[in-house]
Symmetry: C2
Subunit: 419 residues, 2 copies
């Protein structure tokens, strides 16, 4: 039996909140080789939480509960846990002192309602909260380990890494598993699956999965067993096979992003970058700079949303703009060349397109875009018609612009040979 996450919060069932705690827990728990088998999400409702907790401890050997440990009336976790697991709530003076101290530190008196945070189910271990007032809880119910963590993401995360993960390791829940992710852009999921057909049935207990994102498809390879070296070797072989089968569409591994890969290639060659963005309107610059240290190669850019800005700020030729229109290969190339000249960068990327929902025509539909790249030897561009809504079209254009950069850098001369 594996782990189960029970996420508590009405906002998670009304479309208002994203369950980021579950994402973090999945990641941390999977990293030690303990598979998460169920995530159950319930609202701030005592009866339904009780039901979810009963099901969870029955079918899972580790249950991690998050949320509802605050001091407002919708925080029902402490009481419900006590009732379900038949443990009387006891006021813990040490916890109370800690909650009081935290308020004092902020220079305010503790509201009376916060006293409830010092109630601890009898026999439960209190997990210290270095970032807030709600303490966490840990106890064993029959043979299931139950952890109860606050819903505030930073507090949940701190307890997860400082207490839950080390505790699970100490309790013997860590196993030998391996997982690799090969990231691709430019090929469809079906095409990739076809090229990899048969990999799963070659005698290796390997599981191959495909995960399409807005920006491409991830191929996941998983294996588990008793021998760590054997698993690593099997995954190495599988990874190489995937890379051979897919070729240049592979841009990275694990959690690597296109921005990281392209940034590293720029650094390796000592090149700088600028951008000229029309319809992505800054999304490309923001993505490039999502990488810490990107200031070493990224100089800046122009958001040329209006036609006027394309002429004035990037030096696009008015006659070219007039003849081909703002969404054209010619303008994309001139934009890239313009940014390169203005910022004095080695390379420049550009985007011009129609994000929608309006502005499309039969000839130039919503989703059409031209992505340009300028280098010392001139500018080039690629044309795409992306599907999806306004946000997806823009996100896809950003990814494919970075891919254009990546392919350009891969095709170009490599770093000077080390002497």
């Amino acid at each position: 039996m594996g782990a189960e996450i029970v996420s508590i919060g009405t906002e998670l069932l009304t479309g208002l909140g994203r369950n980021t705690n579950a994402d973090r827990i999945v990641e941390a728990v999977a990293a030690i080789g303990l598979p998460v088998e169920f995530i159950t999400t319930v609202g701030d409702d005592s009866a339904r939480l009780s039901e979810a907790l009963r099901v969870a401890v029955h079918r899972s050997s580790v249950v991690i509960v998050t949320g509802g440990l605050g001091a407002t009336p919708d925080d029902i976790t402490r009481k419900t846990v006590a009732t379900v697991f038949r443990r009387r709530l006891v006021l813990d003076e040490t916890v109370l002192a800690a909650v009081r101290a935290r308020f004092r530190q902020r220079g305010v008196d503790m509201p009376a309602s916060n006293e409830s945070q010092a109630l601890v189910p009898r026999g439960a271990h209190v997990i210290e909260n270095p970032r807030g007032t709600a303490p966490g809880l840990h106890f064993t119910h029959q043979e299931t380990e139950v952890f109860v963590l606050p819903g505030v993401p930073s507090e949940c995360e701190a307890m997860l890494s400082h207490y839950v993960v080390p505790r699970l390791k100490a309790l013997g829940f860590a196993a030998v598993t391996g997982r690799r992710v090969v990231r691709t852009i430019g090929l469809s999921e079906t095409l990739i699956a076809e090229r990899l057909a048969g990999m799963e049935t070659e005698g290796v207990p390997l599981s191959v999965g495909f995960l399409p994102h807005t920006h491409g498809v991830d191929v996941t390879l998983s294996a588990s067993g008793a021998d760590a070296a054997w698993i690593a070797e099997a995954l190495d072989i599988a990874e190489r096979r995937v890379e051979e089968a897919i070729g240049a569409a592979v841009y990275g591994h694990g959690r690597e992003t296109l921005a990281e890969v392209a940034g590293r290639a720029l650094l390796a060659r000592g090149l700088t970058l600028s951008v000229a963005e029309s319809f992505t309107a800054g999304g490309l610059g923001a993505t490039v700079t999502s990488v810490p240290g990107s200031s070493r190669y990224f100089l800046g850019g122009v958001i040329a949303y209006s036609n006027r800005a394309k002429l004035d700020q990037l030096g696009v030729d008015p006659a070219v703009l007039e003849r081909f229109g703002a969404v054209s290969a010619e303008v994309a190339e001139q934009m890239a060349a313009g940014a390169r000249a203005r910022f004095g960068s080695d390379l420049a990327l550009s985007s011009t397109g129609i994000a929608g929902p309006d502005g499309g025509s039969a000839e130039k539909p919503v989703g059409l875009c031209y992505l340009g790249i300028a280098a010392a030897d001139g500018a080039q561009c690629v044309r795409y018609v992306f599907g999806g809504g306004r946000a997806e079209v823009s996100a896809r254009a950003t990814s494919y612009a970075l891919d254009l950069l990546r392919r350009h850098l891969n095709a170009g001369p490599g770093p000077s040979p080390k002497r």
Copy 2:
């Protein structure tokens, strides 16, 4: 009993995929007043899916299952559903013809594996898939309505709106409920909760919730009952009370974003905007243009990531940059004024700060930022020190820059009186 979502996909339990289908279903189902009470997430594993389905039909009156209807070996839903609900799988010739036709349309032969998509549990209604090959399923198990939808988001969404929602309404699952969301920026959750203390206990069956985001706190008001007019009135009154208690920190309602609110205010006054971004590096421009039609007021901007770009592209005074540093009120104001002059816009926003993880000092810590606004009568700026990682700091700065614009527009003269 309410609705339950069962989401299938190992990627959802390994941190690779985000459960966007659940978000959409929650939204669509909540909109007709049917509360989602549980979301259960399981991997592509037949035994655990069986367990989840058994639990779900037992405790929920509507179960919506998504994922695992493809034609690859990890697609186990069809078979598992048939086994759990004891319905033999029958090859449906009409479905098979439709799958074949879809492949023909793409100009390719149907792979033999896709034949499995035409297997239908006996007695189940087939939900047409206008966007892909996997048909959906609907049947009644004991007194529970079970819908099985594909995991591809666009296909899931199409079936949801074209079949599931109308069907649920026809089956009498729609109820009268109301929900309002009041969106705020600039006050902490605790402070807001204090100002609204007592609202819930004033005799109205009203539920008040607080949802903190990176960009602010949403206050949610929910009520349900038999009389739609009464609910609407109670929510109107509650909404006004929230607005009075919170004041200028309220920026919008429902799903309105700061970018929409600020954009509307610009349009109402006939004003144009440009941006000068240092560390947000395009995030501000991208957020402004996330609103369809933003080209009516947004002209463009400069991403001045390097100091050189601040001088060359925005005309920041080298002496000022030298004396106060790039992250300073003076530079933020000159950047805004520079963008305003270059783009000829009525207003301009600027950002300069330290996103981290490196680059901070005792005097100028990570998270410090200055956000500027320039208008005809000069430039001003605000200073913040934001918490969180690189992405959060940048996202907060973007939100607070839009808030600065919003407050500026609210304080300024209104639109000219109509004559």
